[in-house]
């Protein structure tokens, strides 16, 4: 029974969404049903979290034949890494509903549900074709959301972001099919399960590099890593708050997760060989996006760059070849999702009410909305990595990881964190704390409502709990990471 829970978690939102599409109920009912669905899922995920045994590998596995002729299976399962991210998604989405509560139409909520299905499906897939299926499908609702509810030149933005991200995925598809063919040539049967594909031994090193790059492009566009980031500026600026939240907090993390789940296990020797480059690219991204964020005036764009900057840092952690780095990266995935997610939603609220987009138009919010300011500050500190918050723990771990990898790069990593602190705090001072200049227009801004506070409380609590007692969480995925890394390094070294 508990094995079927995963399928239930994946498909429940989609089924509810399809049902809601047909009904003619008003938007309030639809939103309430959607919210209820996500809380049901949260409850189920909590149950899974408690039942999960940290030491063992894949759990709750379901493996059913989907397309027999080509050995494509409906193969899903869960290990420490995916559990952590599943937990994050399950908590983030319902709370985001609370913050997005007002002024939305039916399609908005239906799309949100569909995205949740797609994201969870991609997260739990262990068959690469199945993964690809969900990976593409989760983008379509976002496509509709941006196009329908976005701002500015939204249609162009929609098509650009979709073509851009799908272009990467299609290259990955070729690589996936190539691996399938290689498996078929070596063992005489078709299979696309990731553990079966790991056993392929006939590929030449050069071919592997190409396949590795094909996968990397797909994931790097989603993350986004330098220099494949050009789509995010426009998208984050023109997209509605919900879509920005989904893209930055959840889908980008799935890109990182996919690197861990598929790319590294499939090509361990390439991973080891190229790791230095990717740590450098990651750190470069951290600095580059940090400086870009420093120069932004549009507040959403600033967060877009800041988000990209942190994700580059996560990538650097993943490629640092040791468990500090990977644990830190996983921890930062969660921390960043919470902090950035909350910040995007709060900025969305701020923008809806004041109508201002740029930092210099704002100011004086602290007096009008003290609770808002408090939550904003907490998330900001978490994002910056102040001690006591989850951001601190994760950044520290990654910096350890990079130090272990290479001492000079470690120094760079440690120093570049300062950039993040400077633009964030500077923005905070100008947009929130500082008084409005004399004679400027009246600021229309209300404080958070009870519903929104309820939604934000778990996040604030998580920020501090994860900051003070990291063991509680790290213990769940640490064994998986250790095993995983041992296997990778061993396989990579022997080949």
């Amino acid at each position: 029974m508990s094995a079927d829970i995963l399928s239930f978690i994946i498909f429940l939102p989609a089924i509810v969404a399809l049902g809601l599409m047909i009904t003619t109920r008003d938007v309030n009912t639809i939103r309430n049903i959607a919210f209820l669905t996500t809380t049901v899922i949260l409850a189920l995920v909590l149950k899974l979290y408690l039942e999960f045994e940290p030491s063992s590998g894949m759990q709750f596995v379901t493996n059913v034949i989907w397309i027999e002729t080509y050995g494509i299976n409906y193969y899903i399962g869960l290990d420490g890494i995916s559990l952590t991210i599943l937990m994050m998604i399950a908590i983030l989405i319902p709370t985001s509903y609370l913050l997005l509560w007002e002024g939305k139409t039916k399609g908005y909520w239906i799309n949100m549900l569909l995205v949740q299905s797609g994201v969870t499906g991609a997260l739990l897939s262990l068959d690469v074709i199945l993964f690809y299926f969900f990976w593409e499908v989760m983008l379509l609702p976002v496509f509709l959301m941006i196009g329908q509810y976005g701002f500015g030149n939204k249609v162009f933005t929609t098509i650009k972001v979709t073509v851009y991200t799908m272009a990467g995925s299609l290259l990955m598809l070729v690589a996936i099919l190539y691996l399938g063919v290689a498996h078929h040539n070596e063992f005489g049967i078709w299979s696309f399960s990731y553990d079966k594909l790991m056993q392929i031994s006939t590929l030449e090193y050069n071919t592997k590099v190409w396949l590795f790059l094909a996968f990397l492009i797909a994931f790097a566009i989603k993350i986004p890593l330098f220099p494949l980031h050009t789509w995010i500026m426009e998208t984050y600026k023109n997209a509605p708050t919900g879509a920005v939240f989904l893209l930055s907090s959840i889908m980008a993390k799935l890109g990182v997760y996919a690197v861990l789940r598929f790319m590294i296990p499939l090509f361990p020797e390439v991973y080891i060989e190229f790791s230095t480059w990717f740590v450098i690219i990651g750190l470069f991204g951290l600095v580059y996006f940090g400086i870009a964020a420093l120069m932004q005036d549009d507040i959403k764009r600033m967060f877009a760059y800041s988000s990209a900057s942190h994700l580059s840092f996560i990538a650097a952690g993943i490629f640092s070849l040791n468990s500090y780095g990977i644990n830190g990266a996983l921890y930062l995935i969660i921390a960043h999702a919470i902090a950035t997610g909350a910040l995007f939603l709060l900025v969305g609220l701020m923008q809806e009410q004041t109508g201002f987009k740029t930092i210099k138009d704002l100011g004086g919010i602290a007096k009008k909305a003290p609770i808002f300011t408090f939550v904003f500050a907490v998330m900001l500190f978490a994002n910056v990595g102040l001690p006591g918050t989850n951001g601190f723990v994760s950044e520290l771990l990654i910096i350890f990881g990079v130090f272990n990898f290479n001492i000079y790069l470690g120094i760079v990593a440690a120093l570049s964190v300062i950039i993040g602190a400077s633009y964030m705090l500077w923005m905070f001072q100008r947009a929130i704390l500082q008084d409005r200049p004399e004679g400027s227009a009246e600021l229309k801004m209300r404080d958070l409502k009870i519903k929104e506070i309820v939604g934000l409380v778990p996040w604030v609590v998580l920020v501090f709990v994860m900051g003070f007692y990291p063991e509680v969480f790290i213990d769940k995925f640490e064994p998986t990471v250790t095993h995983y890394l041992q296997d990778i390094l061993q396989i990579g070294a022997t080949r």
Binding site: Y70, F143, V163, M166, V174, V181
Partner: protein
Amino acid sequence: MSNFIYLIPTLLVLFGAIALLFMSMYEKISVKSHIFVSSLFLIAALVFALLNANTLYSVQPYESFFNNVLTFDTFSNFFNILLILGTLLTILIGEHYLQHRSYFKGEFFSILLFALFGMMVLAQANELITAFIALEIASFSVYIMVGYNSDDSKRVEAIFKYLVLGAFIGTFFLLGLVLVFGSVSSTNLSDIYSYIMTNSSENLELLYIGLTLILFTFLFKIAAFPFQSWVLDIYRGAPMIITAYMASTFKIAIFSFFLRLILDYIAPIIDFWDTVLEVVIILTLLFGTWLAITQDIVKRMLAASSIVHTGYLLLAFIALSYTNGEIVNMDAAYSIMFYLIAYLVSALGAFGLASHIISETNIKVTFDDFKGLAKQRPFLAAMMTIFMLSLAGIPGTIGFIGKVYVFTEALKAGYVALAVFAIFATIVSMYYYLRLIAVMYFYPPKEECISEDFNDSRVSTYAILFVAILTIVGGIGSAVVFFIPVLNIDTLINFAQLAVKSLFL
């Protein structure tokens, strides 16, 4: 008697065509009853064809009478099912369109069934002259239907272009046939095969030239480079529903014969065309893509994109290679057949839906005209979205599975660069397919395109819904309904395997 069973579908279609011909003499009989009668014949033919779908057989019935020119086997039956289904769905989707256009008279349905008859004979042809005659029966019927649209000033251009070019390229087939006859002294396919097997390569030169000329006809009919230029104007000038028919069903008929020819009879020398085909594929993809992104008229965009799909199909063709007395990569043949099904439903759906919309408003022509369709008619917009996604090969639709198969086979045969090139064509295709979805959903409707009083409960709508369901079920298969036996992806592949197996009986 048992042999007669196999003939029934073809004969039913022929009798249907003749019966409709007689019906059309009476002005009083409405278009509606013509639709009804032709559907009835087609459904009957479909039922009889389906009876044999799952049996493995290959017979040449009444050999003395037919002189061995026709083969009835699972392979031809597989294609007959597709062809009949395609025609039936064309009529049903076009129901509204056909009734609301004054130029569609009774004889149209007769011609349509004659076209189908020609195609079915083509799928069963066991001999080059028969194939030529069948091809011309089908082609001439299509020429006539292309010129049916008397409202459109483009129709004269369309019919003349198609007629002249088609007849011209038909002579290539004839010339090739003559050269083949000159070297083999027979036009029977099995004689050609034994000639290839018994002669050394010096004696085959004439045969190579002959078959290459026949290949030209093939490339023309499926609109591959360098014969793609007719597609845009002709698809544009033809009535929408005929465009749908040409793009989906007629293409399948062409493939049925050439697939048989290549798989069963000229397999030992197919590698000869590999280099040519590689160039053809690259240029087909390139030109098709370029044409598709530059179109403003939706119908022309769909027409141009059909050229790109031809490129994908040829990609699977090239993956069939021959060594040591057999075809190495028989799976590529299944992937072609699957892709044909995938393209049949998606293209028929897309063109058919466009014709359904046009039948009422008459002004939905360019991308701009489709603005706001999702607000006016959410159901149709959703269906159109499904077809576009399927054509673009987004997961969850049959088009995705078709692409996966084709690309897998191309990679398996070692054509990595070509597959990557095709992927780039797919990436660009995202742009023009998504653009249509974007205009439907993200813009308010244009004022002159707003029209009220839609009535969506008609045959066409249900036919479109049926095709859309096929598109989704074919893409997800048993993934959603694990324990319920439905017609899933594997079943389709199994049918294709059985069909190919019957070629070698």
